[in-house]
C-alpha cells in the first residue's frame, strides 16, 4: 500500500526532466563552489563552503525544489487528491508523500554535503573522511528538516504558496542567533556545519532540534491534510 501511495510522487520526480534538472543544477552549483574553494587553495575550504554556500543557500533551495517536484508544484492536498479519489486515507496519502520528499532530502542532502566536504577540503579542515561523514550527517538532518518544513508550507494556499512563505521565514529568522532563530532549520544546520550556534546551543541540541522540526512539520502537515 505504501509503495502504491508513493508511486505518483516518485513518478513526478523521475519522469519530469524539469524537476530533475533543477535539482541537478543546485547540486552542480554546490560542487562548483567546492571546486572554486579547492582551486583557491583555501585552508578552511570545506568549512567555508559548507557554512557559507551549502547550508545557507544550496540545501534550502534544493529542498524547496525537491518538495515542489514531489508535489508537482501543487499544494499538499492537491498532490494527494488523486490518491484520496481512489479511496486512500488523506492523512496516510499525505504522510507517504511528505515521506518521499523527506527521504529524497536526506539522501541528496547527505550525498551533496559529503561531496562538498571532500572536494573543498583544505589543510586546516578536519581529516577528510571524518569531515565528510560529519557533513553527511548534518546534510541528512538538514535535508529532512527542510523538506518537512517546505511540505508544511505546501499545505497552505490553493497552490501551496505557503512553501515560499516558509522559505522567506527561514531566511529572515534563521539569520540571527536569538530565540527566533531556534524555530528555523537554517540556524541549527549552520551550527551542525560549524557555524554560529543559535543561543549557544550545542551541536547535539541542534541535531535534536532538526529532528523535532522535521517531526513536528510532518505531523502538522499530515493533520492539515486530514482536515482538508
Amino acid at each position: 500500500m505504501i509503495a502504491a501511495l508513493a508511486r505518483p510522487s516518485l513518478a513526478r520526480v523521475f519522469r519530469t526532466p524539469r524537476s530533475l534538472l533543477a535539482v541537478g543544477a543546485w547540486a552542480v552549483l554546490a560542487l562548483g563552489f567546492a571546486l572554486a574553494a579547492r582551486s583557491r587553495g583555501s585552508a578552511n575550504g570545506a568549512d567555508h563552503v559548507l557554512v557559507g554556500a551549502y547550508g545557507a543557500l544550496i540545501l534550502p533551495l534544493l529542498a524547496y525544489t525537491l518538495v515542489g517536484a514531489v508535489l508537482g508544484a501543487r499544494s499538499l492536498s492537491g498532490a494527494t487528491a488523486p490518491l484520496v479519489l481512489f479511496g486512500a486515507a488523506p492523512a496516510r496519502a499525505a504522510a507517504v508523500t511528505v515521506g518521499v520528499a523527506m527521504v529524497a532530502g536526506v539522501v541528496v542532502g547527505a550525498a551533496l554535503a559529503s561531496l562538498v566536504a571532500l572536494l573543498a577540503h583544505g589543510s586546516s579542515d578536519p581529516p577528510a573522511a571524518s569531515d565528510a561523514l560529519a557533513s553527511a550527517y548534518a546534510g541528512a538532518l538538514g535535508g529532512a528538516a527542510y523538506t518537512a518544513w517546505f511540505a508544511l508550507g505546501a499545505s497552505f494556499g490553493k497552490r501551496g504558496g505557503g512553501r515560499a512563505v516558509l522559505l522567506v521565514v527561514d531566511w529572515v529568522l534563521g539569520l540571527g542567533h536569538g530565540v527566533m532563530a531556534v524555530v528555523t532549520p537554517r540556524a541549527h544546520l549552520r551550527n551542525l556545519l560549524g557555524g554560529a550556534a543559535p543561543m549557544g546551543w550545542s551541536g547535539r541540541a541542534s541535531a535534536a532540534a532538526l529532528v523535532v522540526i522535521a517531526g513536528a512539520c510532518l505531523l502538522i502537515a499530515v493533520r492539515r491534510a486530514r482536515r482538508a
Partner: protein, 322 residues
Amino acid sequence: MITLEGVAARRAPLTLARLSLSWGPGMHSLVGTPADGGPLMLELVAGHARLRAGRVRVLDASPDDAAVRRQIALVLLEPPLPDALTAAAVLTLAATLRGEPPGDPVARLASLGVESLAPRRVGTLAPEEARAVALAEAVTSTCVRVLLLEEPLVGMDPRAAARLPEALRARGRDGCAVLVATASLRDAADLTDDHVLLRGGTVGGKTASLAELSAFSPDGVRMRIVASDPQALLAAVASEDAVEAVARRDGAVVARGRDATALAAAVGRAIVISGVDVSEMRVEPPSMDDARAASAGVATATYEAAYARTLAALAPPSEGPP
C-alpha cells in the same frame, strides 16, 4: 445507500441549507447548475467537503470510513489524476488502493472505447480523454458501489460518451447507486430514473419523470419528431387543434401543446395524414426554469387539493330534509 439528514454546507457564494434526501440503488440525478449546489453535494456524499451541520451516510456508514471510501467513485468535471503515470498505470494504482484485483487496464479502458489511451501519460491527455480514463476507472471498478458523476456527458471523449450511458445503466442494474449532477435536463432524462431539482442550494422539487413534469410546465409539452419529410409533417401538425405551436429545428419537427395526451394524439394523426416515415419521436424535457416552475406548480396543486379535502372533512354536516 446514500442518506443526507439535515445537511448544511457552504462554499462561497453557495449555501446548502438543511437538505434531507436519500437514494437507493439505481440511477438518480441532481438537476441544477453548479451554482445550485449539485457538485458540492457530490463532494459531501464522497466525504471530500466539510459539513456545517447534519449527517451524511453512505452504505450505512460515514463516507470517511476507510471501507466506504474505497467503494465511492467521484468524477468531477476536472478529475485530479496522477499526471506522471500512464492511463494504464492509473487504473492499476486505483485497483491497488481500492483493494480489488488489478485486472487488465487495457480491457477496462476498452469498456468505454478508449483503450488507445492506455500507454499515454495522463499529463499528455486532453481534458476529455482524462475524464474518459477517470470514468472508465469508476465504471469498471469491481469495488465501487456508489458512483458520483458531475456532467458525465459534458467535456467527454466522444468514444466514451457513446458507450457511457449503457455502462452506467449496467452499474445501476447491478445494485450500484449512480448519482449524476447535471445542468442538462436532457442528460438527466436520458441517463437517470428520478430527479431532484436544485435551486440555489435548496431542493426545488423531486420527480420521477421530467417528461411528466413537462405537462405542468407553463409553456406546455414539447414533442420532437424526426421524419422522412419534415415539411409535410410540419404542415399536417400545424393543422391540428391541440398543437399550440410548431417549428422545424435541426431537421426535426418540434410541436408544442398544453396537454401531453392530446398532443401525442394530434401528432399521431398528422403522421398518418402526411404519410411520412418516423425515425424518432419523443417528448422533449422542459427547460430548467419550466421544470422548476412545474415542480412548484405540482406542489401547490397538491397543497390546494389537500387543503380542500381537509376543509370538506372538517365542515359541519349539512342538515338533511326533515
